[in-house]
Symmetry: C2
């Protein structure tokens, strides 16, 4: 038996419409709250959109659950951000074209400064998809100097390097006080070998792509021990028709297995007692917020992950896990 106090998923994609209805209950079942990414079509860039999307999520969740909303980064005025401030936990920046529905993202990183200055002033964190446009295995490393430049230029701006995948990314946490990172479940479990080392696995394809074994080792070390690294699943559902296709979309739907698989991993690493910090405490400290009170209980009980949930193949589908969310 394992009781988690207000577990938080600090990075989720809940989509819209039917997909939202399908996936939101899975996140709501395991987490007291979750940071909801704004990369819809069109992206969420106004307070009105935030409020409308938030309502849709609460309705779809079907149980007590707090969506922590975000704005899609663009150049915002102070008035816009002041209006949004009470409704969002941060602003998510996508370099243009890097992942699903990020075509509207920022192409010129230097143009971010005026908006970042306002965010710093309002205490509004920056969440960043930290990848440049170079060779796929180098993209995160090549983007880190941009993050570091911002961190130095805006020392009170909290910056969260989302879904960190490299040892170099983890190392940045120690160089800049105001840089934090989310770590996904799947990047703790797989490397590029799992994706393309044997047969090619579209259901393990995500952005940023899984990296090298030594990168995964650094992520595991951070998940267990780094006070500025916390859980964000990047759960990202796509219908099977978009995965097993000539052009396979990037994203892994991990919401249904996130806590059980994390419990199994932390247990395997002899660190089950640190799971609470990873899935809740460190995120509270980083964002300086008090999450809604809720206990989530896991039991040591075998269950088999469904191979399909509607049109979506969940992560670890068909596999048997030895921890189960029971309440």
């Amino acid at each position: 038996m394992l009781t988690l106090h207000s577990p938080l998923d600090m990075h989720v994609h809940l989509r819209q419409g039917d997909m939202l209805s399908l996936v939101a209950p899975h996140t709501a079942r395991s987490f007291a709250a979750a940071v909801v990414m704004p990369n819809l079509t069109p992206p969420v860039t106004t307070t009105a959109q935030v409020r409308e999307y938030r309502q849709a999520i609460i309705q779809a969740a079907g149980q007590p659950f707090t969506p922590l909303m975000t704005l899609f980064f663009r150049e915002y005025s102070r008035a816009e951000l002041e209006e949004a401030r009470p409704h969002v936990i941060g602003v998510k920046l996508y370099p243009a074209g890097m992942t699903t529905n990020s075509e509207a993202g920022l192409a010129d990183m230097d143009r971010a400064a005026p908006t970042l200055e306002i965010m710093e002033d309002l205490g509004l964190p920056l969440l960043v998809h930290g990848e440049g446009c170079g060779f796929v295995m180098d993209r995160e490393a090549e983007f880190l100097p941009v993050v570091e430049r911002w961190a130095r230029a805006f020392p009170k701006l909290r910056i969260v390097l989302e879904h960190v995948t490299t040892a170099a990314g983890v190392a940045l946490l120690d160089r800049r006080d105001n840089v934090f990172a989310t770590v996904t479940l799947h990047h703790l479990l797989i490397t590029l070998d799992d994706v393309i080392g044997g047969l090619m696995r579209p259901h393990l394809f995500c952005k940023p792509v899984a990296k090298r074994p030594e990168d995964r080792a650094a992520l595991r070390e951070a998940a267990l021990n780094h006070p500025k690294a916390f859980f964000g699943s990047d759960t990202a559902p796509h219908p099977v028709s978009a995965k097993e296709a000539p052009g396979c979309a990037a994203g892994i739907f991990s919401a249904p297995v996130a806590l059980p698989a994390l419990a199994a991993l932390f247990e395997e690493l002899g660190a089950l007692d640190r799971l609470q910090a990873f899935v809740s405490d460190r995120a509270r400290a980083a964002y300086g917020f008090v999450p809604p009170d809720r206990e989530v209980v896991l039991e040591r009980r075998e269950w088999t992950v469904p191979e399909r949930l509607g049109p979506v193949v969940p992560y670890l589908g068909g596999q048997t896990l030895n921890w189960k969310v029971v309440g």
Copy 2:
């Protein structure tokens, strides 16, 4: 108009049965001869199998075409290799489990020595899938010391590093006189970015996986200028059901586009006059053999590559090429 004298594809997978019937004519149409890989189920390990497979290929080709047969590497006796010698151009070695139907390959590289000694003595070249079992991006580099050890231990054994993908692999050609390399079309055109940098592309998934831009640059330089680098397409058909699937098979079916796409690339690189060397002359020198006499003519004429050929999606399917094989 471009006339190639006895173009050779020094690395093809022609499969068996219906697939053989489908693909063999495409190779036969463009090439005077081709080196046929022995990784069938079961692998080709006896002279009887070689002769039977050769007959099936000639029948499937439906036009004048010379299959250059290979044995699948195992520990062979001198008597076995003496019997096979008149029927094969070399012996192909697969480290166990590295690619399609290579489960029967060699697990312990040191056990190869006695057979390699006989091959050296009989003048029978070694063709090697040069990958170890480590992280997918490092496998070729990690296997090169094995190749180099063999090259030093058996200085008269000609060794062909098949489908070389890295700058490190190309560099080995300059260190050991008796090491040669085939270069595929697709490794001259794509990098890992094309496979997983945007959407994931199962039809560009192959083994060894495409590598970094600087590796591709080294391959292009070798294709244009290195006297020991020659063309081997590694054309490897899989039905679409095995490509657009939860576990996508490795292989690119390039036979229908090989010469036109090579002509376009060499032309783009200002080296059309070196295509003859790459697709024929250097291979003749490396293997010390005289290919059947045949001219293959390409014309500057636009054509669109079919999106499907039976159950197979050909490389560059749907794209328009500006060179066409006309006779």
